[in-house]
């Protein structure tokens, strides 16, 4: 076996590919967001740089990189600099176990689902340390909000995921996708044989994804009309840029999990096999990402109490009922 086919080279290739995928997506999701927002508000969005404004992300990137990395007075310099990395690196690590197609997966880990949740939990710590390290009142308020929001929404999310794991009996993402083979009526979201409330579980999981990634209508952590820019208030140039890349990578991870757990991952919707799985996966992924952006520009921000009430009083009871129903139906049928 030559060096080119060996395991270290394969891992290295996947590493480069994943980082490129995350960075490219962060850049062009910003473009998509601005374009989509523009069209929804009867504007055009970015149009000057390149055709349809397609070169805008590159120009933005150059602008962010050429800005001075300015440390605000009263900040904790080490925590301030390390916090953006603590948001971005775990997000990129989570891509390692996402199956883009049957074979296109960097590391097919048996406990892939748990691994993604483990790395996603570091994200909260990064935002918290960043908010504290800024030494800014708005940032600290935003950090406190982020934690209560993430803790509240992790519970219904994990309970929903336990239901899915009970149906498929595995934590391996690729195997979960393989078990959804054979057309869209076999996808988990329509898996009414396993649980009558499966579509409700899908909606709960999607809402929790929005809340965990701090997207509107749950963007209490950024809330520009109340907290300036929340945790990002003090961040200049590329510090902000890295935070943003991490945020969009997290959105991608959340959407990819939604696709894998409920929408059949790389399986084709009609059961044929001549279109490669990776194309179906990306199509579904971007459809969900589009929906996430669509929701942001459609609904206004909720209040903080509304947000916590939704989780503790509605989502958690429903997901618990769902869990019991799934267990009972699995036992009976």
């Amino acid at each position: 076996m030559s060096l080119l086919q060996s395991e270290p080279i394969r891992v290295l290739a996947f590493l480069v590919g994943i980082i490129a995928f995350a960075a490219l997506n962060a850049a062009y999701l910003v473009w998509l967001e601005r374009k989509e927002a523009g069209h929804m508000q009867r504007r055009i969005g970015p149009k000057e740089v390149g055709p349809f404004g397609l070169l805008q992300p590159i120009v933005d990137g150059i602008k962010l990189m050429s800005k001075q990395l300015f440390l605000p007075k009263g900040c904790d310099p080490i925590l301030f600099m390390i916090a953006p990395l603590m948001v971005m690196v775990p997000a990129i690590m989570s891509f390692v176990t996402i199956p883009f197609s049957e074979t296109l997966v960097a590391r097919d880990i048996n406990i892939g689902l748990l691994m993604i949740f483990a790395f996603a939990s570091i994200n909260v710590l990064g935002l918290l340390l960043g908010g504290w390290g800024s030494g800014n009142k708005y940032a600290i308020i935003a950090a406190a909000r982020t934690v209560s929001q993430n803790v509240a929404y992790e519970i219904p999310m994990l309970i929903t995921v336990i239901g899915v794991v009970m149906v498929y009996g595995t934590l391996n993402l690729n195997e979960i996708v393989i078990q959804q083979a054979g057309g869209f009526w076999h996808w988990n979201v329509l898996n009414l044989k396993a649980s009558l409330l499966m579509p409700v579980m899908f909606i709960i999981f999607f809402i929790c994804t929005l809340a965990e990634t701090n997207r509107a209508p749950f963007d209490m952590a950024e809330a520009e009309s109340e907290l300036i820019a929340g945790i990002y208030t003090e961040y200049p140039g590329m510090g902000f840029g890295v935070f943003f890349m991490g945020e969009y990578a997290n959105i991608l991870i959340g959407c990819a999990l939604t696709v894998i757990l409920f929408l059949g991952g790389w399986q084709s919707p009609f059961g044929e096999t001549f279109v490669p799985g990776v194309i179906w996966f990306l199509l579904k992924l971007y459809a969900i990402v589009f929906t996430v952006i669509w929701i942001r520009w459609t609904y206004p921000r909720t209040t903080f109490y509304g947000l916590l009430n939704l989780s503790w009083k509605i989502l958690i009871p429903i997901s618990l009922v769902n869990l019991i129903l799934t267990a009972a139906m699995l036992k009976v049928f």
Binding site: M115, V124, L129, V147
Partner: protein
């Protein structure tokens, strides 16, 4: 000596790096003067320990280490520190255990544990149960480790009651309220 540019060689480099991360995290956690930095050091230390578990072929324990210690314990500590009064610049008098005495104690402890680990004849485990398959974990949790499993629920109960007691303290019902 394993050649460097093979899978084993690179693995051992990463392994040494992870030991370094663990030790550096622990040193930051104990030696910094700011509480929040100490928690950050603790998080780094936990990440290193999780990586060591992964190298020891226990991915499940590694992921749990991240999920519980980094994701839950560290966030809780930071949150508690944020709610408490800032103690920047306040120096304690220094316990008698701090300083050279504790370094000596640490060296003795390390030497003792290392000697114990090297001199014991370890029998390899009959089977690896934590390879991450849900069925295996479920079976061993409800058979071999059922006692531990039940005791954990007791610990959680104590924690819930304790937090309730703390939250209720000083919040007595007055005549006008009732």
């Amino acid at each position: 000596m394993v050649p460097l540019f093979t899978a084993e060689g690179l693995t051992s480099v990463v392994f040494m790096a992870m030991i370094g991360v663990t030790v550096v995290g622990a040193i930051i956690a104990t030696n910094t003067e700011r509480l929040i930095r100490a928690v950050a050091g603790l998080a780094i230390c936990f990440i290193g320990v999780a990586a060591l578990y992964y190298f020891l072929q226990s991915p499940f324990v590694a992921v749990m280490e991240m999920l519980i210690y980094v994701g839950a314990v560290c966030v809780t500590i930071v949150f508690a520190v944020m709610l408490a009064d800032p103690e920047e610049g306040q120096h304690g008098k220094g316990n008698i255990l701090a300083g050279p005495f504790s370094i000596g104690l640490g060296v003795i402890l390390f030497w003792g544990l290392a000697a114990l680990a090297l001199k014991t004849e370890w029998t390899p485990a009959a089977s690896v149960i934590n390879n991450g398959s849900v069925v295996e974990i479920g079976k061993s949790l409800l058979t071999t480790y059922s006692m531990v499993f039940e005791l954990i629920s007791l610990v959680l109960l104590v924690a819930i009651i304790g937090s309730l007691v703390l939250a209720r303290a000083g919040r007595t019902r007055t005549e006008t309220e009732s």
